[in-house]
Amino acid sequence: MSSLISLEHLGFSYDSSSAPLFDDVNLEISRGDFLLIRGASGTGKSTLLRLVCRLQPHCRGRILFKGRTVESIPPAELRRQVLYTTQLPAMMDGTVRANLLFPFSFESNREKAVPPDDALRGMLEEFYLHDIPLDHHALNLSVGQQQRVALMRAILQKPEVILFDEPTSALDGESASMVFRIIEHLNRDQQMTVVMVTHSDYRPERITPAIYLLEHRKLRRL
């Protein structure tokens, strides 16, 4: 099967005079894969994900998505398909509904059908948010609930790949396991490709992930 994402000899330094954060990273990601990238804080795990969706320009090597270099794909088009979720959920000042639907107003998403309230309520149940009304103010939710709303907002855009950057780092144990269950469900039942960066020992229950370790500037498979 051809790769969905390929990293070829990828290297990154913050500037030309500083030592590389990592170097000569090679990785093939196929459709439906579940990848876990581990490593201590500061090894460049988040940077690696941010380079794939062009939130940071890379220095050396190539990143290909469906055989095209990421630089040749218009940024909004790339990011709609390879969706990066930040460590801390960003909620705007408004209702849960407004937070879920604002991406549909963007030029690149205009052709997408806006889901009706019934569909949103059904999804809230799947995301363990059945007791939250759509008119609830998003900033009054707990961080764990906000993280699940942010996840739901990302899924509504139907990306092909989701890059999770420490999705549970700010959550308590119960909220974290809810988020993990949702992510596993997305991969197992909806064949969504998942790349997750974490420094925890998390291991999915019913999926065998490909586990990588970013250490000493190199990425290796465990």
Binding site: R54, L55, P75, Y84, Q157
Partner: protein, 261 residues
Amino acid sequence: MNPPLDISLWQLLLGLVFILVAQVTSLVYHLGLNRDISIGTLRTFAQLFLMGYVLSFIFGSDNVWLTLGVFGVMVVSASFIIKGRVREKSVPYILPTVLTMFASYFATAVFVSGVIVGVEPWWEPRYFLPLGGMVIGNSMSALAIAIERLFSELRQQKNMVETRLCLGANYREASQDIFRNAISAGMIPSINAMMGVGLVFIPGMMAGQVLAGADPLQAVRYQIVIMLMLVGSTALTSFVTIRIVRRRCFGKGEELLLGSG
């Protein structure tokens, strides 16, 4: 109409009484401002006398290039003042700022002197330079506030901006609120000035004209034109500059180049 009364050198020095009051206050209350007050006083005398001689020379020379040269120097000086206030190193914003300031202030000053006031030629330094100076001085502050607001909000809201980018927004959509806030922040002082003018203060230019013996109703007309000109030039300069500088805050991949604040 009476011509303005001359201020002799001795009368001018008598004005230093006010500085004496400030110096004594600083000494008594240990404000530590004596040195700054002295330097400020010296600079006020030196800079304004220098300007007086330069303006006398230019008014007498009747040369369009000299007038435009002085105008250019005022714009460049204003850009240095903005640079001192904004203190942002990671985004190169000064060149587009200077070019936009020059173009929009020039257009505004030409419109006011040549079309509204009807001066002939339009660059007559006695009109063009004071009008240009007022536009530059006021819009400069507005622009510094707007640019500073743009940078600080982009840093503070980096997480939200990046979330929008990741959800399919282009850089304009990702920073739309911040763009609006920055321009509003710059414009509010000149709009507030329109609200208070004539009620809580007599503007400097109008006061000057009245002291110089002009008919107060004519001075009012000038002042109204000035107020309108300031709002318009502030809006135009802020809009164009913030648009260009915002683009520079994002890279080729529309990634935000500023770190979080």
